[in-house]
Amino acid sequence: MDFKGKDIISITDFSKSDINVIIKYAQKMVPYAKGKEYTRILDGKVLSSLFFEPSTRTRLSFESAMNRLCGRVIGFADPTATSQKKGETLADTIRMADAYSDIIVLRHHLEGAARLAAEFAEAPVINAGDGTGRHPTQCLLDLFTIQTEKKHIEGQKVVLLGDLKYGRTVHSLAYALSLYGAELAFVSPKSLQMPKEVVNECKEQGVNPFSTSKLEKVIHDADVLYVTRIQRERFPDAEEYSRVVGSYQINKAMLSNVKEDLIIMHPLPRVTEISPEIDATPHALYFKQAFNGVPVRMALLSLVTGVML
């Protein structure tokens, strides 16, 4: 695929070989992302960073990525300051951003917002998360992390844990992992199970995910444990919430029987899902994973503008 001018909306728009191109190129970006090497390839380019919904990690890593490539960033992190408040359509906001910049990065609270934005912009649109919908750059950095740590994704036993219904990162990830032929287990409370659309997408790739509400059924065998947060507001009463959440909190005791090279990932921010005592163990990969957002996003910014390292 020729990435120049291409929108990055959903991981489902990309083939495995497209994803491999991105992952490979991101590996090349690592020393630049760390500031050990220096490049000016996006000098003179402007990125619109439109965050209609708060985000720390995704926004900062996009901005860091653009800055590391010597591009400039305009935009907002807080939609209350924009004319959206005055009733402007997203379509109009996008038309403006399109006129002011070369790339548009969009985070929005409504599903399908990025797809719509792409219809109104000449410039490539990168989806930085839309509602409970897609979050392809998180997915790519997750794949990059597994690939880098495990050397291959195929055949890895990956457990996705937590809020699988509303957690957008796990939707894209489940699909992409099936593309690579990983073995999937979905662990969630009954009320927060993986949506049928996502399960169908996995099946279409020939992967039959195992679903359970009990982590102990699958954790001992896992190569990757991907933890997500369960939000309080998803539950009708506080008692039910604390019962469910308690059973999914990862602490050292739970890891007594796991594979030595199990890696634990988390899209962050973490609250109580992973006990801080895990941080110092070799299993903890979430901080490195968060860093990986920078080289992956650098790779994407370079690819969609067609200015290569």
Partner: protein, 158 residues
């Protein structure tokens, strides 16, 4: 004895038409939705007759007959969404001269709205709803914007 009971209730057949289109085998109960999708009849144009819950060989069905108008295939195919078994019969000089089964297009706009309340297509943006057809037989569709599959398509017809 009331007036109503004196009237003899004989089943009334739709008269044969000379020229036009017969949409046959419409899923029972969906004839009016079919007309809405097709946007017919427009005011003061051709005559349209509707028969609902007619006993056919394969159970109950609805039938629509449009006089003096030959509906084009592309125009009618989208009704497959709610009447997947429908056939289009073109009538010329009282004879069925063309017949085909409706088939969903790969993609369509309008017609239905996305059932997801937090889908961008439901929020006053200057776009029509848009659906990708996943399976023409069942049928299965998903929203182009939010990628969700509606639970009950016929409920979502605009």
């Amino acid at each position: 004895m009331s007036n109503v009971e004196k009237v003899s209730i004989k089943p009334m057949k739709i008269p044969r038409i000379k020229n036009g289109t017969v949409i046959d085998h419409i899923t029972s109960g969906n004839a009016l939705k079919v007309l809405r999708i097709l946007g017919i009849p427009k005011q003061n144009t051709y005559t349209v007759s509707v028969a609902m819950n007619v006993q056919g060989k394969l159970g109950k069905k609805d039938i629509v007959k449009v006089e003096n108008r030959e509906l084009a295939r592309e125009e009618v195919d989208k009704i497959a969404l709610i009447a997947p078994k429908a056939t289009i019969n073109i009538i010329r000089d009282y004879q069925v001269t063309e017949k085909h089964k409706v088939e969903l297009p790969d993609e369509f706009r309008g017609i239905a709205c996305c059932q997801n309340p937090t889908c961008i297509s439901n929020t006053g943006e200057p776009v029509q709803s848009r659906f990708i057809v996943l399976d023409k037989e069942i049928p299965r569709i998903k929203c182009y914007y939010c990628q969700r599959e509606p639970d009950d398509i016929s409920d979502r017809i605009i």
